[in-house]
Subunit: 410 residues, 2 copies
Amino acid sequence: MALIVQKYGGTSVGSTERINAVADRVARMRAQGHDLVVVVSAMGGETDRLYQLATEIYDAPPARELDVLLASGEQVSVALLSMALQRRGCDARSYMGHQVHILTDNAHGNARIRGIDDARVRGDLGRGRVVVVAGFQGVDEEGNITTLGRGGSDTTAVAMAAALKADECQIYTDVDGIYTADPRIVSEARRLDRITVEEMLELASLGAKVLQTRSVQFAGKYRVPLRVLSSFEDGPGTLIKYEEEAMEQALISGITYTRDEAKLTIMGVPDKPGVAYKLFNDIAGANIDVDMIVQNVGADGLTDMTFTVQRADYAKAMKILKNVARAVEARDVAGDDKIVKISVVGVGMRSHAGIASTAFHALADEGINIKMISTSEIKISVVVDEKYLELGVRALHSAFGLEHSGGNAQ
Amino acid sequence: MALIVQKYGGTSVGSTERINAVADRVARMRAQGHDLVVVVSAMGGETDRLYQLATEIYDAPPARELDVLLASGEQVSVALLSMALQRRGCDARSYMGHQVHILTDNAHGNARIRGIDDARVRGDLGRGRVVVVAGFQGVDEEGNITTLGRGGSDTTAVAMAAALKADECQIYTDVDGIYTADPRIVSEARRLDRITVEEMLELASLGAKVLQTRSVQFAGKYRVPLRVLSSFEDGPGTLIKYEEEAMEQALISGITYTRDEAKLTIMGVPDKPGVAYKLFNDIAGANIDVDMIVQNVGADGLTDMTFTVQRADYAKAMKILKNVARAVEARDVAGDDKIVKISVVGVGMRSHAGIASTAFHALADEGINIKMISTSEIKISVVVDEKYLELGVRALHSAFGLEHSGGNAQ
């Protein structure tokens, strides 16, 4: 008898058949006595369809209205899932973000949750109802509809679990857990039974794409037990644990990558305060997320600075970069949108400096040139040419012995 | 410089091209200095698509969730129209029913408006914005989404015009006004420049289908000047006036009909108090609208009672009727769902008793058998076999000389 928040993504509710399958699982768990809050995304493809309509009208759709438009997608899926549950004799109620006061800031398209009024949800749970909540959407203080950005339904689920102090937040996806690498690229990749939240954070932000980064941060902050499972087959999935609970810890938990990157370089910048500030202030003002930033100071007192952005933002970022380059009298700018990022992730890395050299050696053996390097406490990321993606991931997976349970080398 | 509420139905916003055409008109009128509130329905076909999804899940979709589902349709169209207006440099804001507090009762699927909080709309108008409001939807006191039933967007527009004391409420449709009869059936039918609200009420409720009955009632109650126009071609449309303003009034303003009727009869009912109450109480409890009711008392102290309902409700109504028939020990029940109703409408009728005989004579001349008759102060309705629809409408249109402007006979 637990209080469980479940989240089903667009693929899991992509048709009425799949919605019925979700309702079967939810009704079964309700019959076992669990209290359930179910967060759903828009039906698969619906967000794209709506976005397409918007761009037919206006190539740069105004953010407030785009949020109104996109939020209609989840409205459809919560209503249909509630119907499917009631069809099974399982009392259920749907709520949109504004109805359960998922209060956010007013950053349309990328809003952050400030709070949830859980009274209504608790009231329904107390009456034995399953509560079905629209993911991805909230409402600002003035009552405008907001959306949380890509993968925002995960964040809704985690925030709801935190507000309700749920026993577990289960994220149902089209994969059955977190793997040591993408199984489509590395056939020896293994599913991890557990992973720390820090590792998950790196894996998610680095393109494992199973969970939205923000939702994992949120889960870590509020210690929400998070589990990734498949909505298509039964299984234990991967449980995301907090560090103090982790016991034996493999040095390296996995290799991940992202394809959707581009890098930009500004060259010959006078090395004085304020240049980086100006650049990233303008970039942030255009709502462009920057990932890696690398800077070198040369002998001549001039600096080269390179950073990566999502590939979709490349053109916009380059335009800003050129303006900044003119303003600060930089020598030149350059860019490359045919790059990928590959990362080695593991909590164990913290005390093992040799991992970097193992990684660089494995890539060099395959003749792969490293274009950028960035490290954090628990990851090492390299940027390489797009064409080396599969080869690089496989080489690293093998170099760290990830095909063997618990195995690793350095 | 007037304050105008405009309403565009599903056909008028059925594609992004048509939404652009609506935006062109709205932006043009805004440029002329008018203050504009625009109420829109869901894109044509969208409500059907959503209803189809619902019935795939549950053949009897729960009313609360069906409202959540259907309300998503207008959410899409208000967002798209606001985008199209902004694209034209016309500042615009969309609102769903709950955002402008279109407060209704909790009769899901057929809710009635109790009030509108117009402060937000007035605030936006004061800032020079066009306000785009989702038709058809509201919110009950507990914050649940409700819908107003078929044609509910008209009611939203009229209620909004009443709340704002607008100078005119313009209903844009796929016809260019109100005609003396359906032009598809009677080629001589004429567009009326003006019509009284009472006549409009009869025409709308009798199947002219241009405006929802409730919206016309609402307009009459609050004296909202209402105009029906085409969204596809320019023209003056038909202005709906209040009786004291009407001057010369033709006796008969038009012939109308409805196809979607069915009649049910309960025979041999003991003629004592409470029987009709029980029957119509059960019918109303099932949310079935009853149109005509005719009752005769026979010599034997037993009553036959016949009533008509919308054809879609026929099976449900028949089931209830059979139960009631058993309970009150009636002799038998009967029904016919292959009937239509044809009506002669005109304010002038009030003082002219001969109109009924002209109508009955015209139908008899064509060999059309009348199955039911019902009259009100300004209309005479007859129920006939479905196959006589066109012939009956033409015969009546001609009998009253409606092909000639201002002409009528009796």
